[in-house]
Subunit: 355 residues, 2 copies
Amino acid sequence: MTDPLPLGSTIGILGGGQLGRMLSVAAARLGFKCHIFEPGTKPPAGDVAHAVTTASYEGIDALTRFAKACDVVTFEFENIPTSALDVIEAHALIRPGREALRVSQDRLTEKNYLQDLGLTVAPFADIPDAAAMTQAMNTVGTPSILKTRRFGYDGKGQARLKTPQDADAALADMQDAPAILEGFVDFDFEVSVIAARGPSGDVACFDPGENVHRNGILHTTTVPARLSSAQKTDAVLLTAKILNALEYIGVMGVELFVADGQLIVNEIAPRVHNSGHWTQNGCTVDQFEQHIRAIAGWPLGDGTRHADVVMENLIGDDMDRVPALARAADTALHLYGKAETKPGRKMGHVNRISR
Amino acid sequence: MTDPLPLGSTIGILGGGQLGRMLSVAAARLGFKCHIFEPGTKPPAGDVAHAVTTASYEGIDALTRFAKACDVVTFEFENIPTSALDVIEAHALIRPGREALRVSQDRLTEKNYLQDLGLTVAPFADIPDAAAMTQAMNTVGTPSILKTRRFGYDGKGQARLKTPQDADAALADMQDAPAILEGFVDFDFEVSVIAARGPSGDVACFDPGENVHRNGILHTTTVPARLSSAQKTDAVLLTAKILNALEYIGVMGVELFVADGQLIVNEIAPRVHNSGHWTQNGCTVDQFEQHIRAIAGWPLGDGTRHADVVMENLIGDDMDRVPALARAADTALHLYGKAETKPGRKMGHVNRISR
């Protein structure tokens, strides 16, 4: 598809969480309808969507009907089973494409891909078995983090090694899943670049934001990040390099460590990203609309930052603070309408704006 | 209801057009679900709502089921049949309340109400019949506008009288509907104040915007309006006076003529208003969220204006300009997802921002 998606077309979204929800609202703002595919009942995105299919990713009939009802299909998470993508691809265009998913679904593939592009990544080693682990203690060493190669998010499927004595316990934590050992980077801070690329190759990056995590979950993103002008340029250029190499279509989040002034690529996410939520109140066109524009083949929008923003996630009991937050000046609330509050669950976020 | 509406509650919206659509998105952002009631099929609001009831305002069963499914019911237009409101009121709270609808559904009642509040309105006369028209030629005279007392919008149900010779033709245009003759105000410009009032009596006004109409339909709203500081204060105070007198809950649009420095109340709309669309890109909390906050008994949000904005409606063939508008800097597109483009139909709007 090279022609722009016509007004009134239907965009399919795999995943009905908060990212799908905010994508659906952005798509509606441009005159598109959204169809959500989500195994779980009462998905947050379902409250703002044209249609919802509740079915598993193994349900070939449901996937087929869904794909036939959509003009283009996108996703809010990267761990989509390959078999589901195969079914969808027979009937509808998938954007971003399969290559970005292939690379980002596997931490080892991703690290090799980034390294082959000439980018700096943390020291890493493939850990298929205990013997590899013993060897990796000599190359990567400690402190380091053992991670499952696939299906990790928000700090899950990870074990920290402070000393080589932690290796056995960490390996046991992986429960025989293929893993990768990553050298711990003693970074000064972390930033992320949210970037979009359209089918014609145009790339637009939002200003880098600075991330703070708590318990392995993003806590705040602050713009502007503490980057020098040269670092900001470098961050944007290396991000564009990744998107161009993948011939990527859509929005991608790229997390970078800043260590001794150097930019080290931590990971890429082939989708809208939690660290880009500040764009909703800091830019004319936010990351969600930018993603929709890209996958629809529309011109990318004006993502110039017009305010300083601190985005803070509302996680679990943070929801008790909503009444106070609702009263605060220069504060935009974004709640996800999730029925149940659980510890560690992302329930909403707040953007605090200063000009 | 004095307690704030709990998260996850359902808000009913009578009317599924663009105003209902944008209200529904704002409600979702605060964690509420929206249920749209609309006689027409494929309502624009249906694409971003939790539930849709397609039924007529005469359908008592459908209205009852709808009302029972909602925690509070609001509306996107003022011409709701009284009988429908009676059915809903038996099962759900209606906000804004019936008094605001009673006053604003009838131009004569509205004019009298505003005059009784000590506000300035254009000269007017009740025109129940031809004899009253003859008499009104001596009191109101010409130029003037004959309007049906009820069910007019976007310039419909109106006839202009340049000279007394136009009286018979204008009366015939009314097709025996009760009418009101309004003296034509030779105004310098028109502004509107979008204001919100919560159940506890707190009032918040957005900055007045300056309106330009074409063919009886709003064309642009520009903020800031060309008002002196004193005029701006007066506009806000008189608006608050109306909301307080009505013990109003929700957002109201108040249109004012500025003539020789004087503020003349043209009309009030007990709902979010087209001339308030600029708030989507000019304020942290827009008129739609402000309305939801008010009817939910939440604290009103921060509606401080942080940019200059020109809102332009996209009407009918203006949609041909969407590809160019999508490329423009500092320009936010808001499309309504209407299936068919017709002359005079509001298809979307664009907010052009400058800082």
